[in-house]
């Protein structure tokens, strides 16, 4: 039997080799208790600048801890969300991660992946620092689970002032009808792409703003909680308007990210682009000053909002460090450091508008008075499942312009996902 024993030894040897190799590469995964790994998809442009501002404030307020950048770039957060899902499932959460307030955050809360922060809210005096409507979106069953860093507005129409002036356009279109007239005028003046557009989720944003114009804010909000029927004639009308708008956009939209579409505006090849107000910071970072902005035509004073917030994941390695990060995020200084650079407005109500660049001053004023509606493309209105189905349906629509199929697909998605929210 001596061969058998040797074979056994060989087998053990192989196993030992395996585990030796396993230890060899282990240094990447370890982290000291001083490290706070902050997981975001803010890897460049204005987003990175905002994060850097927050990190600087964190360095001052939490000198005991070291910031570790866990940003995952690409796919407008899609890559990051996949990596995050994987890490949460592997029980290897970052010390804190970025989550959109609203339906998207509820997914994490319901799955039991984030900790209750109600006690910290009391301790840090945050209960009255944020507007009540926002707090409601962070709360499930009376407990608060995240600290909001900012408010973004999604329904802003950006423009290249020079292109507009050259085409003789002097005032912002106030309704969809006026918008179509303006786009026609631009086309007649030889502007190849009156409206710049990117791929899937950017198309969803455009559809949502058209829905706001055609349905009004109340019925629009109802689309996401089941009280408005997706199969209705008003939705059909909105989809028709959306289809008409696509006719003014660049043909290669399905291969462009939002920044590629932004570049069309910057280069003067396009006149308008619908995008969230992170575009302001991005344009500033890129040194482009010749831009104008207005609420999307027909949206009136509706403020389509989304909010980035940070959480304390279950089993975070350094909960004390995370709490210091969250405290910084919620503090007046932290919100100022972050939002002046990122182009968003502070979630806190006590901010001084004078600290902010011009665009944000208007947004801060609007936020107080405007009617608020959520955004599906950015997770405040719908769950990730709904979002995925809507993006896919729009991807198909962009290639075949089949309006009936789009409406049916969205209605089906709503029946599958809206009630589970």
């Amino acid at each position: 039997m001596r061969f058998t024993r040797r074979a056994a030894i060989a087998a053990v040897g192989v196993a030992a080799l395996l585990s030796a190799a396993a230890c060899g590469g282990g240094d990447g995964g370890g982290s000291s208790t001083k490290d706070v790994e902050v997981f975001t998809w803010w890897a460049d442009g204005g987003e990175k600048a905002g994060l850097d501002g927050l990190v600087a404030q964190f360095g001052t307020a939490c000198a005991d801890y070291t910031f570790v950048n866990g940003a995952v770039a690409g796919g407008a957060g899609a890559n990051a969300k996949q990596v995050l899902a994987s890490r949460l499932q592997q029980n290897d959460p970052p010390d804190t991660f970025q989550a959109h307030a609203g339906a998207e955050l509820s997914d994490y809360i319901k799955a039991g992946q984030v900790e209750d922060l109600s006690a910290q809210y009391g301790e840090w005096g945050l209960n009255n620092a944020f507007p009540k409507g926002l707090i409601d979106n962070l709360t499930v069953d009376g407990k608060i689970y995240s600290v909001p860093a900012n408010i973004h507005r999604a329904n802003v129409l950006w423009s290249n002032k020079t292109v507009l002036t050259q085409a003789g356009i002097t005032k912002d279109p106030a309704s969809l009808a006026e918008f179509f007239t303006t786009l026609d005028a631009l086309k007649a003046k030889g502007v190849a792409t009156p409206l710049a557009l990117g791929k899937d989720w950017t198309q969803l944003m455009l559809l949502e703003t058209v829905l706001i114009s055609d349905l009004g804010p109340d019925k629009f909000t109802g689309l996401w909680n089941g009280s408005t029927d997706w199969a209705g004639a008003d939705v059909t009308k909105a989809i028709d308007d959306f289809t008409k708008l696509l006719g003014y956009t660049n043909k290669d939209r399905d291969s462009l990210d939002w920044t590629d579409a932004e570049k069309l505006v910057m280069d003067g090849k396009a006149a308008y682009q619908l995008m969230g107000d992170w575009e302001a910071a991005d344009l500033d970072t890129k040194g482009f000053k010749d831009y104008g902005y207005a609420v999307f035509p027909g949206n009136g004073d509706t403020f389509q909002w989304l909010a980035d917030s940070f959480v304390l994941p279950k089993n975070a390695k350094n909960p004390d460090g995370t709490k210091c990060w969250l405290k910084t995020v919620g503090s007046a200084e932290g919100q100022k450091a972050f939002n002046t650079k990122k182009g968003s407005i502070p979630a806190r109500t006590d901010a001084n508008p004078g600290d902010y660049p011009q665009y944000q001053q208007t947004a801060i004023a609007d936020w107080k008075t405007a009617q608020q509606v959520p955004s599906c493309a950015h997770g405040s209105a719908c769950s990730q499942g709904f979002q995925g189905a809507a993006n896919s349906a729009l991807g198909k629509f962009s290639s075949d312009l089949d309006t009936a199929a789009l409406q049916k697909a969205l209605a089906t998605a709503a029946s599958q996902f809206a009630k589970t929210n």
Partner: protein, 299 residues
């Protein structure tokens, strides 16, 4: 031996073209040759086009970088993008070596042992077992990915490189076994093993003293194959690691897939990512040949 299946790993097949009896030079044969060389050159250029764009763009700067004008040579050559790309990819570059080298070595040893048993120290049902092993090579890894995440956590393997090492070794067993089995079946005569057995040599002694010394060509093939697939893998990497602890493909994707990617740095990064595997192919390719010919497609 019939021609037996084999995903012959990439290789430059060896022996030079056999010399044929010289024929008279006729106009027809001259034209034929001209056409042949023209075609070969045409395809050479086509195949090199993407490499050309990568290379010239990586040395460009500022407004020269762009889709339009991508074929132009840089007006001003700069290595700034290479520096930037290296800053972004450096740590993961090192990590990928920590992954790919152990994977290549461990898989090869396991493959050699298995291949030896399945070809020259067979047991009843060895063929059926071999077929079952082989199937593991073809499965779409999505079909194991969902529970795989859970099981590596349960076993307690640290995330990142250790997890990926384990996974690549495991899913590399089928191909390494296949390569060595076919290699031994065609290069190691059964008689040598039998002679050893008559002399009382046991399994391990036979493996260590008779088999391993002649296994070099097989090792070259499996090491290159496993090194390359671990280095180039994206699927396992995206599911089981992240930019902080993952291999270079993840880091490159983060660099090139960012919202406003720096194209020159992305292209420099793509070249940096490809250098080790290119080195392996182009430089070690020659040693690879014998092993491939013996171990793979064999008439």
């Amino acid at each position: 031996m019939t021609t037996t299946t084999t995903p012959a790993p990439p290789a430059t097949p060896t022996p030079a073209a056999p010399r044929r009896p010289r024929r008279d030079i006729t106009p027809a044969s001259v034209t034929g040759r001209a056409v042949r060389y023209a075609l070969l050159l045409f395809f050479l250029i086509v195949v090199l086009m993407p490499a050309y764009v990568l290379l010239v763009t990586s040395f460009k700067s500022g407004s020269e970088i762009g889709v339009t004008g991508q074929w132009n040579l840089p007006q001003r050559w700069t290595t700034a993008s290479w520096v930037k790309a290296w800053d972004a990819l450096g740590p993961s570059f090192v990590r990928t070596f920590q992954l790919a080298v152990p994977v290549a070595l461990i898989s090869s040893f396991i493959g050699a042992a298995n291949g030896f048993v399945l070809s020259r120290w067979r047991f009843p049902g060895a063929d059926a077992v071999f077929t079952l092993i082989l199937f593991g090579m073809f499965i779409p890894y999505q079909a194991v990915m969902i529970p795989l995440r859970e099981i590596v956590t349960t076993i307690g393997v640290p995330p990142g490189i250790p997890t990926l090492t384990l996974v690549h070794v495991i899913y590399g067993i089928p191909i390494c076994t296949l390569i060595f089995r076919n290699y031994y079946a065609t290069t190691v005569p059964e008689e040598i093993i039998e002679a050893g057995r008559v002399d009382g040599a046991g399994l391990l002694r036979t493996f260590a003293w008779i088999i391993l010394p002649v296994s070099m060509p097989g090792f070259v093939v499996t090491v290159i194959w496993q090194f390359t697939s671990a280095w180039n893998d994206y699927l396992f990497a995206i599911f089981l690691s992240n930019t902080r602890n993952g291999p270079i493909t993840i880091a490159l994707n983060a660099l090139a897939g960012a919202q406003s990617p720096d194209y020159a740095a992305s292209m420099a990064g793509a070249l940096i990512t490809s250098l080790p595997t290119l080195f392996v192919y182009v430089v070690l390719g020659r040693w690879f040949i014998g092993g491939l010919m013996a171990g793979s497609v064999k008439s």
